[in-house]
């Protein structure tokens, strides 16, 4: 027997323990073959058989069993692919509540990234209810029968007195240029980069976007993320559904700029990413093992771990951030394309929003606020667990700051961060819209729809590792091949169609056919503190 020391890793130190039943196993090999983490293998186990006669010698029998690795580079993350492929129900990972992983990680263990906000947090949205129902004072609508007008502005909206309109007899005419505003579906597919996502995952989201626009009549927009944009998309008319993102790494922008003369249509917009809710104040990070040749090509980088700095290097003050960056990107597309900005929700968000609202050049076309419940597999766990700002009150603060100045609606507020965590994105969206959001963005939900098996309870969440067993967050061709683009896209399409139905189901009982932006009277809460903070009715 080998010596086992106290510090040696054993299976019961790990977060996930493989529950394997030899009696049920038919040795088909599927579990081991499919494990992208190499966390299990077949080994020969020798067991001592009871002696047949008192004096006969001991006999050893050999059993081939599935054994879990304790090698720190091959640790089971509980993804459950083994259980999924096992024809006999002989194997499944079980969460080990007595695990020592957090401490092992601190002690130079293998994992200090990933997860989804691993500490349990109470969501404000779950304490809100749509409590103002049309009962006799006014008729509720019929979600199936009435027409609804679910569109949200993306772009800089001018005050009515500043509109370039001239009276001609009994009609008005536009007499000068004005900032571009697109009316889009109030749900944006959030920025997840090529690199973070596999080609197939990214394409599935793009494909779903195209389908929703062309086959379902829903002008849903997808944000590219900061990992560049495929050349084929840049020169396609599908670019019209894509919001291009620029973040501190500026990855891929040389190719985007070079493609501008070849573009057949303008992109849907540009989103300047300052920060994101899951790891506020931290930049993007793509481990070298995900920087495959096509990523190198699209991003224009060698194979190495890619860091986006926490800050845009040229933006050293809020004035610069507002003017310089917006101006450059506005001019890149001839001032025809809305340019918006995305920040992690923060105690400073209102200050930022005020600056944007007061900007005399009116070139900011949207303020995207990302709350702390957002997910990213590559963020440091310490950031995921301990930094960020809940989205709900921050949105409300921004909306009320604008309202105080009579500027609400001029820079559309788009919010995200953990929306649809409990598979109720429409309810989350509706509540946020009532509190002042013009629309919402979702990211992680899309991965979940593509087949991601991760969750808030520590399952998988290995997006940073390059070993994503579902082929979504990896560039490993062997894994990417697992992802069925069409089925993944279909799930996303169905999700949006259902989101649309559910949004109408929430609009109908409050008697509204267009989005009730800022209609806080529609909400109630059973939490006194939340009621005070958001300025909505307390109910009990």
């Amino acid at each position: 027997m080998d010596t086992v020391n106290v510090q040696d890793l054993a299976v019961n130190d790990l977060a996930w323990m493989i529950d394997y039943s030899y009696d049920l196993c038919v040795h088909c090999g599927a579990c081991v073959a499919s494990c992208s983490f190499n966390a299990i293998s077949f080994v020969a186990q020798h067991t001592l058989l009871p002696p047949e006669l008192p004096k006969s010698s001991k006999k050893l029998a050999q059993k081939i069993i599935v054994k879990q690795s304790t090698d720190p580079t091959k640790i089971c993350c509980g993804c459950g692919i083994c259980a999924k492929v096992c024809p006999c129900g002989a194997i499944t990972p079980i969460h080990n509540p007595h695990n020592r992983e957090p401490f092992l990680n601190q002690a130079q263990g293998p994992r200090r990234r990933g997860g989804r906000g691993n500490l349990s947090k109470k969501r404000t949205l779950d304490a809100l209810f749509v409590g103002r129902i049309s009962q006799m004072t006014d008729p509720p609508l019929d979600a199936e029968r009435h027409t609804f007008d679910l569109r949200a502005p993306f772009g800089r909206v001018l005050a009515a007195k500043d509109l370039p309109l001239e009276v001609h007899g009994n009609s008005l005419r536009v007499c000068a240029s004005h900032p571009p505003v697109a009316w889009i579906y109030p749900l944006i597919f959030s920025d997840m980069s090529i690199g973070a996502l596999s080609t197939r995952a990214w394409e599935a989201i793009a494909l779903a976007t195209g389908y929703l626009n062309e086959e379902c009549g829903l002008p849903v927009r997808m944000c590219s993320g900061e990992g560049g944009v495929p050349q084929n998309l840049l020169t396609s008319d599908k670019l019209a559904y894509t919001i291009l993102q620029i973040a501190s790494g500026h990855f891929g922008w040389n190719r985007i700029v070079r493609a501008i003369p070849q573009m057949r249509t303008d992109p849907a917009g540009v989103l300047i990413k300052i920060g994101q809710g899951a790891k506020p104040g931290d930049g993007g990070w793509l481990s070298a093992n995900k920087v495959s040749p096509h990523i190198q090509a699209i991003r224009g980088v060698p194979q190495t771990t890619l860091h986006s700095p926490p800050n845009h290097q040229g933006l050293y003050s809020i004035e610069e951030s507002v003017q310089k960056m917006h101006l450059s990107l506005n001019q890149a597309f001839g001032f025809r394309v809305p340019v918006a900005i995305k920040c992690a929700a923060s105690s400073t968000s209102v200050a930022v929003y005020n600056n944007l609202l007061r900007d005399p050049y009116r070139i900011c076309g949207g303020f995207f606020l990302d709350g702390l419940d957002g997910g990213t597999g590559a963020a440091n766990t310490v950031a995921l667990n301990h930094t960020g700002h809940p989205i709900t009150s921050k949105l409300r603060d921004c909306y009320r700051a604008a309202t105080t100045q009579g500027l609400q609606g001029q820079i559309p507020l788009w919010v995200g961060g953990g929306l649809g965590m409990h598979a109720d994105a429409a309810a989350d969206a509706f509540k946020l819209i009532c509190l002042g959001a013009n629309g919402v963005f979702v990211g992680r939900v899309l991965l979940q729809l593509l087949g991601c098996v991760g969750n808030e309870h520590g399952r998988c969440n290995q997006c940073h590792s390059g070993k994503c067993p579902t082929g979504i967050c990896t560039q490993d061709i062997r894994l990417v091949q697992r992802l069925d683009v069409d089925r993944g896209a279909e799930n996303i399409v169905n999700f949006v169609l259902n989101f649309d139905r559910e949004l109408k189901k929430l609009l109908a009982p409050v008697g509204n056919s267009s989005l009730p932006v800022g209609r806080s009277d529609a909400l109630i809460t059973n939490d006194w503190a939340i009621a005070q903070s958001l300025g909505i009715a307390f109910a009990c």
């Binding site: 006014d138 005050a159 009515a160 509109l163 008005l172 536009v174 009316w183 309202t403 105080t404 209609r519």
Partner: protein, 368 residues
């Protein structure tokens, strides 16, 4: 549903006509009040039509406060009408001690000022009086404008009319335009200021319905113009929107309808004036109403308008003959005032329509 009505006539009409218009619609009354605005006055106010007329209800102390304020600010009192009230105890009316309907002359210095400056003066004076009376709990001021009279009270409309002697043919009030409602459009506390019609700088508006976008309307309007205040009723916002679109933005009348009930986005996009409609919708999204409404308004140029919500949830009908046009929630009111009209000329405004009746009783129907 509250019933609303309006009369526009070539010859001056007494309040009795308005009461008759509303009488068959009594199922909608709930003793929460009666209110009317009269414009283009005759009878007691046939003279001094260009001089501002103060309409208010107050306590004795309130009257003293107002007198002092008006004196101090250089307004000289001209004629007035003092109602000969019927103090029958059985009448269901929450009467105030004093009702004031009084013409003033502008302060000396304003004789040489522009129309716009005078209009601002009148509004600011009204707002100042309102605050003064509110602070002292001493009364309510409804309008202060040339040739416009507002009467409001809480109680049963028929009894209120009896109290003020409005049923009498020889009533000294008459006007060519009357907008009337026999119930407060409020589901909450009964407050005099919540009673329609509302008035602001020449614009009178009366609505029935529930404005489900009241909160966002109000939050936007609060900082839009100093005269937009009160918000005792969820439909006051419609008056402010009308005022904003026509007086502040100076947009043509049909755009009022586009602001309050914008066309569905997909339809706007296909129109030749899509650029204008989209800009308006973007900018004034906060002024949309969404919910059941029918409205009647009277503009400074005495054009009377009517329109409904985008789903046509509230009724409204317009009937007319050569001498009179009448707008009513229910046709039963028209049948009383205009029994011999050609009913095939009655107009039932659709959800996409704005009907305007000008001072020559010319009717224009704007389709959105």
């Amino acid at each position: 549903m509250c019933r609303i009505g309006a009369i526009k006539s070539r010859s001056p009409q007494s309040p009795k006509a308005a009461l008759q218009l509303m009488l068959p619609q009594q199922e909608g009354h709930d003793s929460s009040g009666f209110a009317m605005v009269m414009q283009d006055l005759y009878g007691a106010f046939a003279h001094d039509k260009e001089k501002p007329l103060l309409s208010m209800a107050c306590t004795v102390r309130g009257l003293a406060l107002v007198n002092e304020y008006m004196d101090h600010h250089g307004f000289a009192q001209l004629g007035q009408w003092v109602p000969d009230v019927c103090k029958d105890k059985s009448l269901n009316i929450h009467a105030m001690p004093r009702y004031v309907f009084r013409n003033y002359d502008y302060p000396e210095i304003f004789h040489y000022r522009s129309q716009a400056e005078r209009e601002d003066l009148l509004m600011d004076t009204r707002l100042a009086l309102r605050e003064l009376l509110h602070k002292e709990k001493a009364g309510f001021v409804y309008s202060f404008w040339p040739d416009v009279l507002t009467l409001k009270e809480i109680g049963d409309p028929a009894d209120i009319a009896t109290y003020f002697g409005l049923w009498q043919d020889n009533c000294r009030l008459s006007a060519k335009n009357i907008v009337v409602q026999c119930r407060q459009n409020t589901n909450y506390d009964i407050v005099r200021y919540a009673a329609h019609p509302f008035f602001l700088q020449g614009f009178t508006l009366c609505v029935n319905g529930e404005n489900t976008f009241f909160t966002r309307n109000r939050e936007y309007q609060k900082s839009l113009y100093r005269g937009y205040l009160g918000f005792e009723s969820d439909s006051q916002t419609l008056l402010y929107t009308l005022h904003y679109v026509l007086r502040e933005l100076k947009w043509p009348l049909p755009y009022f309808k586009h602001v309050i009930t914008p066309l569905p986005y997909d339809e706007q996009k296909k129109r030749h004036d899509a650029d204008v409609l989209l800009l308006i919708r973007e900018s004034l999204a906060n002024l949309e109403i969404n919910g059941p409404n029918a409205l009647i308004a009277l503009l400074p140029d005495k054009t009377m308008i009517s329109c409904c919500d985008a789903k046509k949830l509230r009724p409204c009908v317009i009937g007319h003959d050569d001498d009179m046009a009448v707008i009513s929630s229910e046709v039963s009111g028209l049948n009383v005032l205009l029994p011999n009209r050609d009913i095939s000329c009655d107009i039932y405004p659709t959800e996409r329509e704005l009907v305007a009746i000008d001072d020559n009783l010319e009717i224009t129907r704007w389709i959105q």
